[in-house]
């Protein structure tokens, strides 16, 4: 019989009050290194910094646009498949050109474009990519992703420190 535990509190359940920094860690928590985004979001949420909202999500859904519109800085965190790369990378983002259909999921640039279209503004935005080796079924990180997780948290701390 299944263990009768309370469902885990989700970092998706974020306060409705606007925050100056919104961090969105996204990925599939059952596909190996793809869980690094949500793990980083959970770690940032545990810092309990004022004005910082950390969201662990599986997809970048359109509903995130409202939170982004109220923020000054958005940080997206995702795993990046790479057989050779070892370093965490930070990419400054701008909205994508709005010449394609938007479904119920998006990428960071598409989401920024949606935010701008809906609310007339979008936050400064960065994409932190963590090198990933394996997306096999399972919940464990590869050693590369583990190291990347720690390095990403350092970069995120710097971004937040510079923003607030």
């Amino acid at each position: 019989m299944m263990d009768d535990q309370q469902p885990n509190a989700a970092t998706e359940t974020a306060p409705d009050a606007p925050c100056s920094v919104v961090l969105v860690g996204y990925g599939n928590e059952l596909r190996g290194d793809d869980t690094v985004g949500p793990l980083i979001a959970a770690a940032v949420a545990a810092w309990k910094l004022p004005g910082i909202q950390a969201l662990a999500v599986r997809q970048l859904a359109p509903e995130l646009a409202e939170r982004l519109a109220a923020a000054e800085l958005a940080i997206f965190v995702d795993a990046c498949a790479s057989p050779d790369r070892e370093e965490v990378e930070a990419h400054l983002l701008h909205p994508a050109a709005i010449d394609r259909a938007l479904g119920h999921t998006s990428d960071p640039r598409g989401l920024l474009a949606l935010t701008e279209a809906l609310y007339g503004r979008y936050p400064a935005a960065w994409l932190i990519t963590v090198p990933a080796r394996s997306f096999a079924i399972g919940a464990e990180l590869s050693p590369v992703a583990e190291r990347g997780l720690a390095a990403a948290l350092e970069q995120i701390r710097d971004l937040i420190r510079n923003a607030v």
Partner: protein
């Protein structure tokens, strides 16, 4: 492997053999292809809606413990995981032979209503509204969510807020928006907190206003789609779904009712657990999606539809004032039953409104905060059928287990699959009316796609039976000779 021009980009073309292929069909859940065949005179001879993906849950679930099935089957889909979660849990209830606590049943209902809201909102605002509100002949580059935002920003924002509310209901109950590990055989795993109840209740006025505004806008634009409304999959079929004891609109329990295209009851008070006695499943070699049919009328005459259009055709009332008012207006578009698939959109919006009204009433009940939520039992039956109304229609999870609770057999009868015959007929009807000859304006092809979108098919859910058909693209000459082919 398909030719690269077809593999990643929309392929719309008329080849020398007068076969029109729309691949992939855009703005639907999952993957499909439509093939339209023209005769020598350039008129539509046949059209087929091919589902080109295979999932296989019915096979790889064999051997798994019953307790895992809710979690496994909820991952059939990221749009309607709650539907599978609830149907699976209900099948488990049958195998445990328990009656779950009333509060657990009410909370499951609450989550299902949230699911209906978010799924219908996605379908209308994200997938179909660009066609409906911008026009099917509008610039394809702008006939999308961004075009909708530019033309009707408040509507677009409202649609996102509405879907977000539905997901919030799911999240407040299950802890997460997608694949909540919450409903289990015997009940549910967590209660509704007072804080969650208050949060959801506070949003009712806003989302009700959004739903009413969407309905008003939809009805206002119906006149410009009079032709589509008459021709978009408009033909008599049976309609099937769950109804309450008094004929009220149902979404979680109840018995099955089947009505015909004139609204006459064909069968009533049917036990859903005995679905296999009156629903058969046919297979065609050209699609991974099965073809369910009403057995007494045979295949394919036993064509029937499920989902919002069916639910509104079979029920007598909603029992909530705003939705009942819209139901009366809805019925004016048919004689006994509304038969045009175009009105799935209207039915969807009315169901959103009904769900909001019902949630408001439920949240007012102190019993919703009960923590008595589980009925504990072991394996007491070796077979169970769980049935509920998913946003797209009636969903059946049928399991057989051994005495240890390990799955020995699974059948999943999915809503979208039950609309398969009707979707194919709709494609043929639309194609025959709008397509004459090999030179087709963009808007006409989009009408064929839009006809499919009216059903809001979830193809990711629907394809689980073992199939042997490879994915195959054939280019046929006028005499049927295969000129070229690719396989994967």
């Amino acid at each position: 492997m398909l030719a690269s021009t077809q593999n990643s980009e929309l392929c719309r073309g008329v080849d020398m053999a007068q076969r029109i292929v729309i691949d992939p069909v855009s703005r639907i859940e999952g993957h499909a292809k439509i093939t339209i065949e023209l005769d020598d005179g350039g008129q539509v001879r046949d059209a087929r809606f091919h589902v080109t993906e295979f999932r296989g849950f019915e096979q790889f679930c064999v051997g798994r413990p019953l307790w895992e099935m809710a979690g496994i089957t909820s991952r059939i889909c990221g749009i309607c995981p709650v539907s599978h979660l609830l149907a699976s849990a209900k099948a488990g209830d049958e195998i445990l032979a328990v009656r779950i606590p009333p509060a657990a049943a009410q909370l499951r209902r609450l989550m299902n209503l949230g699911q209906i809201i978010q799924s219908h909102a996605l379908s209308f605002f994200h997938l179909s509204a660009p066609d409906l509100l911008l026009g099917m002949d509008s610039d394809p580059a702008r006939r999308n969510m961004f075009g909708l935002i530019a033309a009707a920003p408040e509507l677009a924002r409202g649609g996102i807020r509405l879907r977000q509310f539905g997901q919030q209901v799911i999240e407040q109950l299950g802890g997460q928006k997608i694949h909540p590990a919450w409903a289990v055989p015997g009940g549910v795993r967590a209660p509704l907190s007072a804080a969650s109840r208050d949060l959801l209740a506070s949003r009712i006025p806003e989302v009700r206003a959004i739903a009413l505004d969407a309905i008003t806008r939809f009805k206002a634009m119906l006149e410009q789609y009079h032709e589509e409304a008459q021709l978009f999959g408009n033909f008599p079929t049976l309609f099937m779904g769950l109804v309450g004891a008094d004929g009220a609109w149902e979404h979680y329990d109840g018995l099955l009712r089947i009505v015909d295209g004139g609204g006459q009851v064909v069968a009533d008070q049917l036990d859903p657990s005995r679905y296999h006695e009156f629903i058969g499943e046919a297979v065609e070699h050209w699609s991974y999606l099965k073809f369910p049919y009403y057995r007494p009328l045979g295949y394919p005459d036993g064509i029937y539809r499920v989902g919002p259009l069916a639910r509104l055709n079979i029920c007598t009332h909603f029992g909530t004032p705003l939705a009942d008012a819209e139901l009366s207006a809805f019925r004016a578009y048919g004689k006994g039953a509304v038969t045009s698939s175009f009105f799935y959109h209207y039915a969807r919006l009315i169901e959103i409104l009904a769900a909001i009204e019902r949630i408001e009433v439920m949240l007012d009940d102190p019993a919703m905060l009960s923590e008595h939520l589980r009925a504990e039992a072991g394996i007491n039956a070796l077979e169970g059928v769980g049935v509920s109304e998913a946003p797209r229609g009636t969903l059946f999870h049928h399991y057989q287990v051994d005495q240890h609770g390990l799955i020995t057999w699974v059948n999943l009868l999915i809503a979208t699959g039950q609309n398969n015959l009707a979707m194919n007929r709709a494609v043929l009807q639309i194609a025959r009316h709008y397509i004459h000859g090999p030179h087709i304006p963009e808007g006409m092809l989009n009408r064929v796609e839009a006809g499919i979108r009216a059903f809001d098919p979830c193809l990711s859910c629907s394809t689980h039976a073992v199939g042997q058909m490879p994915l195959h693209l054939e280019l046929l000459g006028p005499d049927g000779e295969v000129l070229d082919q690719v396989m994967r």
